[in-house]
Structures are given as structure tokens and as C-alpha cells.
Amino acid sequence: MSDDMGVIVKTNARALIPLIGIFGAYIVLHGHLTPGGGFQGGATIVGTGLLFLIAFGVEEAKKVINKDLYSALEGVGGLIFLGAAMLGLSIAFFYNVLWHKGPIFNGKPGTLLSAGFLPIMNLGVGLKVFTGLVSAVFALSLFRRWKK
């Protein structure tokens, strides 16, 4: 029994997965300017993983999704968040030192390179949400014991 979809769904998935991914990356990168941010953008990018899993089937996803890599990347995302929070540790935890006197990310408010550690944290949280949810859904899809 093949668990992948027909050719129309597959072709549409090929076209849509990059679009969803780019839109999710846009939400994550512009988290400090427009509505959205790490959690929302990460959950949007998870849509690509779900679409891939549903359209191409579990067997195809098994070749692509490496669970060690994904669990490692989830930890890395959390560490990016913590590292950005510790940048201003000489003054206080979660002190936005990049915004007040940092070398980068201190442009005019409203530009992409502004807001101190907020873009870095958005990236970390987005990476964490994406890898975490994809690995959870993938584990759920591999758990298939309907009989017995």
C-alpha cells in the first residue's frame, strides 16, 4: 500500500513548499517589525514539513528527515535564545545590550538590522519550533499500529 498522494497533489506540493517556507522565513526575520515572530513563523514553516510528509508519504520522508539532526537543531535553537539573552549579563539577564551600545542590530527602529537581540532570538525560537514540531509529527506518523 503506497501512502503518498496522486500526481496533482505532489506537483502542487512541489510548488507550494518553497512558497510556504519563504513566507515563514519572512515572518521570522521580520518579527521585530511586523506581526508575527519566532513562534508564529516557525509554526508556518512546519507547514512545509507537514505538506511534504502528507504529499510524498512516510517512506520518502524517512530518507529526508534525520532525527538526530532535528533534535540537535532544537537544542541549538534554545541555546541561541539563551545566548542572546546572556549577551548583556554584565548588567542584567535579558539586558538588550546590542540595542543600547552594540556593534550591530542598532540601526534606526523600523529597519531590518535594528532592535538588538530580538532578530537573533526570533531566529532561535523559529528554528526550535520548526525542528521540534516536525520531529514530533514525524514520530507520530511513524507510530502506526492500528491492529492488535
Binding site: G78, F93, F94, P109, L118, N122, K128, V129, G132
Partner: protein
């Protein structure tokens, strides 16, 4: 009997909550004017000082990542624990691997 009591207590709790939500006794909805300054002074501060203190135009991101970063840290920890628990529980059982 037990079910009837449980339903009765649900009705009592619901009535009390409705009472607390009514504008005469409890909280108000659609605050504005003087009430805004009186009950929402924290929001007022964030809106006025958020851009200059944190730098992001998105006030919600300013609050959740800078002013109240610990909360987001805990949220990320909750997500991490949920994923770890789900993946750990969904692993194949030891007996099934050999079959």
C-alpha cells in the same frame, strides 16, 4: 446523583463567573479615557516607551522577548519538554522491534 451534584456545582461556578464579568460588580470591557490610565497604565508605558527602549516596532515582540523574556524562556522550555515527552512516548516498544 454524583453527576447531578457535579452539574449543579458547574452551574454555581458559571453564575459566579458571570457575576464577576458584569460591569456593575466586576471588570469592565472596552476601557478608554480615564479608565485607560487607571487600569492599563502598564500597557500605556509599553506603548509609549517600547520603541526607544527595545528598538523593535512590534510592541508584542518587544514585550515577550525583552521586557518579559523569562516568560518566553519558560514557554520555549515547555515546548521543548512537550516535544521530548511526545517523541519519547512514541518510540517503538522494545518487544516490537524484534518482531
Amino acid at each position: 446523583m454524583k453527576r447531578a451534584l457535579a452539574f449543579l456545582s458547574l452551574v454555581v461556578i458559571f453564575a459566579a463567573l458571570l457575576m464577576a464579568l458584569s460591569p456593575e460588580y466586576g471588570i469592565k470591557f472596552g476601557l478608554g479615557g480615564e479608565d485607560w490610565k487607571k487600569y492599563r497604565y502598564t500597557d500605556d508605558y509599553y506603548i509609549k516607551h517600547g520603541v526607544e527602549e527595545v528598538g523593535g516596532m512590534n510592541i508584542v515582540t518587544d514585550i515577550v522577548f525583552d521586557y518579559r523574556g523569562y516568560d518566553t524562556l519558560g514557554e520555549a522550555t515547555v515546548l521543548f519538554t512537550a516535544i521530548a515527552g511526545a517523541v519519547a512516548l512514541l518510540r517503538p516498544w522494545r518487544r516490537e522491534k524484534h518482531e
